[in-house]
Symmetry: C2
Subunit: 192 residues, 2 copies
Amino acid sequence: MKIEVRLSGSGGQGVVLAAIILAEAAGLHDGRNVVQTQSYGVEARGGASRAEVIISDEEIVFPEVIRPDVLLAMNQPSMNRYANSVKENGILIADSSLVKEIPGVRAKIFSLPLTELGRQAGGVIVSNMVALGSLLGLSGVASVESVRKAVLNRVPKGTEEMNVRALELGLQAGTQALFPPSEAEAGVGPGE
Amino acid sequence: MKIEVRLSGSGGQGVVLAAIILAEAAGLHDGRNVVQTQSYGVEARGGASRAEVIISDEEIVFPEVIRPDVLLAMNQPSMNRYANSVKENGILIADSSLVKEIPGVRAKIFSLPLTELGRQAGGVIVSNMVALGSLLGLSGVASVESVRKAVLNRVPKGTEEMNVRALELGLQAGTQALFPPSEAEAGVGPGE
C-alpha cells in the first residue's frame, strides 16, 4: 500500500506544517515509511506553496510525487496549477471558501469550506488543520489518534486546543462528505 | 552551484524546523531552487531525526541527498550513522556538547558547543537555531538576512528574540571556527 499526497495553497496557508504533521503521524506513530518534501522555486516566490507526503508500507525508493492519489488545493491558483496532476479516481479536496472553479478532472471532487471552518475553530490560521482533518476523513491515510498526537507535538504552545478543534471540524466535514447525513440516516452507504 | 545539506539529531532537537527555515531562506528570499525533505522509517521511530536540503541555481532533477556537502550531527547516534556519508572535503559540524567521538572522515570537522550556546541564548530548545547559525557561518549556503527573515516567519510568536539570539551565537561560533581570533588579529587567514 502506497499513497501519495500533495498539499497546495498560498504561502500563508500552512500547507508545509500540515504536511509535516501528517508525515510525523504516519511515520512516527503509525509506523509507516514516509518521505515528506517541499520544493521552492519560481512558483513559491510567486506566493504559491506546495508540500508532499508519500506514505508506504514498503521502502520508498522513488521519493518524488508525480501523480498524487490525494490532492488538496486551498486556493484557486493551486487548483489551476495542480488539478490535472491528480490520479484518475483519486481524491481532490478544494477549499470552497476560496476555490470558485474546479477544472474537469476524473477524480472524486470534494469541495469543503476549509477557511470558513477554520474561522469557526478560532481563526483562519488553523484552516490548514481543517484541511488535514478533512483529508483524514476522506482518505484514512493516517490514524486520527496519531495525527492528534503529531498536532500537539508541532503547533505552538497555547494554540493546541484551537488546532485540535480545527482538525476535528475538518474530520467531521470530510466524513460527512463521504457519507452524506441523509443517506447515513437511511442506512445506505455511497454506491448502493 | 549546488549544495546538499543533511541535518541529523534526536527527535526533540528540531532539525526538521531548522531545515525548513534554511529551505525558505534559500528558496523564497535568496531566490534559489530548493528541495527540502524528511524521511521517517525505522530509524525515526528509534528517536533519530533527519532532514535534508538541496540548494541549487539549476533545476533540481534528482531530489535525493546521497553524499551531503554539509553534515550536521547533533548527537552521537547521528554522528555514528551519518559521518561516512559526508562528501570528501565536505563540512562536518558536531555538537561538542553531546558528540564525544567523531569517526575518522576526510571532511573538515568543526566541533562546536551547540547545546551549550542554545542554553546561553535562552534554552536548549533553540540549539537548532545555534546549529543553523553555525552552518551559515561555516558554509555561506544562504544569506544571513534571508535566514533571519525565515526564522521570524516560522518560530512561535513570543520566541522570536530567543531564536534570533541563538542564530547569532551560532553564526559567531561558526565564523570564529573558520577564522580563529588569534590568526584574525594577526591579519592572517587560514591557509596563509
